[in-house]
Amino acid sequence: MSNRSVTHSTFVIERRFDASPARVFNAFADPQAKARWFSGPPEWGPDISEMDFRVGGRETNRGGAPGGPVHSFDATYQDIVPNERIVFTYDMHLDDVRISVSLTTIELTPDAGGTRLKFTEQGAFLDAFDKPALREEGTKGLLDALEASLKPDH
């Protein structure tokens, strides 16, 4: 079935953390620190990941629910300003289908002893809209987001 399409979209997530910009930056820059939080949902089991945190360096991360499609994240770091900014491009595959190519900018700003993080993703989402696996993921994602928004600490 040939059904080619591209949708361009941008979204922004803003968070504040009770930790210095240096600590937040380190959580992105240090592979061991990053492995502590940059992973799939608990039921996915361990991810396989590698990262080379420098401009031009690559990062890959693969994981998925048992029996489900493998989600692959492949990134290239484009710009790094310690404690302030990280820019990377990445694509996502579900099994062997590329579903999106994105440009992501993470900006860190000191905020009253903590850090404000602004995440901007600009993406081109490709073709695979009607794949049932993706639809299911989307629905599950919505439920996860709902659950996260109901947590008392946000």
Binding site: S5, T7, H8, S9, F11, I13, R15, F17, D18, A19, S20, R23, V24, A27, A33, R36, W37, F38, S39, P41, S100, S102, G113, L117, F119, E121, G123, F125, F129, L134, R135, E137, G138, G141, L142, D144, A145, A148, K151, D153
Partner: protein, 93 residues
């Protein structure tokens, strides 16, 4: 605005009416929605009628919802991780 259009086509002034927005702000917002492919509009006489592009809405919504949820979950985990670090010289609550 997208919600209103999901119920059916509407003119620009019909869209502006229930919103606390100036007409020019509404026109600007519509231009963004049109550029994103979510909304189409056509001018008949002096009235511009807007309608939603249902396929685009579903595709874009799906994508944004899924990807945003992935990152929100990661940032929840980042917050938990940062909170678990021992205090060094940073201020304690």
């Amino acid at each position: 605005m997208v919600e209103r259009l999901a119920r059916g086509p509407a003119s620009v002034s019909e869209l502006a009416q229930p919103l606390a927005m100036s007409l020019s702000a509404v026109v600007q917002h519509l231009a963004i929605l049109e550029a994103s492919g979510l909304v189409r509009s056509e001018k008949i006489g002096r009235v511009r009628t807007c309608r939603i592009e249902p396929a685009a809405l579903n595709m874009a919504e799906e994508w944004i919802a899924q990807r945003r949820a992935d990152w929100e979950r990661r940032f929840d985990q980042l917050g938990d991780y940062l909170a678990s670090l021992p205090e060094v010289s940073t201020r304690q609550e």
